[in-house]
């Protein structure tokens, strides 16, 4: 993620003129979210690493087609997401996601009772299992919009679909999750 003020437009212009240091700065700024995107869509750390690397190389070479002044993050994420999905397609499978063990004891939280912690953990696992059972299209939309916390526009850009498509996929995916989980609102 971006951890300091970044004049993105200027860096892109510099990179477009062949300034590799500027591109390196951009890579460092976005490689975190790019890796997380590739991992959540592809499900493998090794594939995610390759997808991000190939994505940034392709993006650099495609800078001539990048529309000046447009937001860089969705454009980058779209290239990386494509790389990740291509690898997922080629592999014919995707590793299941998991909840961090440490998530049971989050810093700053009041210490839950053992029963409450157990219920919360069970609820998260059930929700994740239900997400994993969704179709790739619905799961990708959920991953981008909620797991990556992208806006609807950014989700649309990352997945290469219209905003309306994102909205309908999310709506159907949420409906499917509610059906599967029964008791959830």
């Amino acid at each position: 993620m971006v951890d300091r003020p970044l004049d993105e437009t200027q860096l892109v212009e510099q990179a477009r003129r062949g300034d590799l240091a500027a591109w390196e700065t951009i890579v460092r700024a976005y490689q975190g979210i790019a890796f997380r995107t590739a991992y959540l869509l592809g499900g493998s750390a090794a594939d995610a690493e390759e997808a991000v690397q190939d994505g940034f190389v392709k993006a650099y070479r495609a800078l001539g087609r990048f529309r000046r002044g447009a937001p860089l993050k969705p454009w980058l994420l779209r290239i990386v997401a494509n790389e990740a999905k291509n690898r997922r397609r080629a592999a014919g499978r995707r590793d299941a996601l998991a909840v961090r063990v440490a998530a049971e004891d989050r810093p700053g939280d009041a210490v839950p009772s053992p029963e409450a912690a157990l219920l919360a953990g069970e609820s998260r696992r059930r929700l994740l299992e239900a997400v994993e059972r969704l179709s790739d299209e619905h799961r990708d939309a959920i991953a981008c919009r909620y797991f990556l916390e992208l806006s609807e526009d950014e989700t649309a850009a990352a997945l290469g679909v219209r905003r309306g498509t994102v909205k309908s996929r999310l709506s159907r995916a949420l409906e499917r999750l509610r059906d599967e989980l029964g008791e959830m609102p």
């Binding site: 001539g64 592999a91 996601l97 994740l128």
Partner: protein, 231 residues
């Protein structure tokens, strides 16, 4: 956001995602060979060329030793200082599955212009179709693959000459001299054949939406004549 959406956001924050490695040095290393042009018409072609650079950098012995690039349709030719390790094969080996012409066209999803005299069309992956024919008393391998993307890469070293030509007004490349190395990729670059050592001469040329490749111990004039007949 409703309750379920909030729970999904919360779940996302608790997913076990490995820490992102620092990929910036490797990205920079891979793109360092050439700089992009801001001019739009050149950008697309250059992007494809540079993917070839990335592929070449992925071959360890070629790393850091790339001298020149040529791009033509779905193929790239990369001149390197040292060829990477490669296996030798006969022209008929490793070409893929033998199919009827109709089945081959369905598999690759484009119209074949390969010589129709061949009884079998070999298809590798989902994008490269080949036939083996006889011409000028020699065995000749003719392959066809999409002209957009990166399906075939050739690595050549010092003693292989690369010449720019034209076949019926379309751009072509003629490779002659010392052995060179060939590698195939599928539409997603997910499928890679082992690098193959090629001892014959090669003509690559563009034919509308596809790229053609002719390999055999032919002279340049013979290869051009054969290509002209195919066109």
């Amino acid at each position: 956001m409703n309750e379920l959406e909030l729970q999904l956001v919360e779940l996302g924050r608790e997913l076990d995602v490995p820490a992102a490695p620092d990929l910036a040095p490797r990205v920079v290393e891979r793109v360092e060979g050439r700089r992009p042009f801001p001019w739009r018409p050149l950008a697309v072609a250059l992007a494809v060329v540079v993917v070839a650079v990335a592929i070449a950098f992925a071959v360890p012995p070629a790393r850091g030793a790339i001298l020149r690039f040529f791009h033509l349709g779905g193929a790239s030719v990369v001149r390197v200082e040292t060829l990477p390790p490669a296996v030798e094969r006969s022209q008929a080996d490793g070409l893929g599955e033998p199919l009827t012409r109709d089945a081959a066209e369905r598999r690759v999803a484009f119209k074949l212009v390969l010589p129709s005299t061949a009884s079998r069309v070999y298809v590798l992956g989902d994008s490269l179709a080949s036939v083996v024919v006889r011409a000028y008393g020699r065995t000749v391998l003719v392959s066809e693959f999409p002209g957009r993307g990166e399906f075939l890469e050739k690595l050549v070293a010092g003693r292989t000459d690369v010449e720019r030509l034209q076949v019926d007004g379309q751009p072509a490349l003629w490779l002659e001299g010392a052995p060179h190395v060939l590698q195939y990729f599928d539409r997603h670059r997910g499928f890679r054949e082992e690098p193959i050592l090629i001892r014959g001469n090669v003509l690559l040329w563009v034919h509308g939406p596809v790229t053609l490749r002719l390999e055999g111990k032919l002279t340049k004039a013979q290869a051009l004549e054969l290509a002209h007949r195919l066109d």
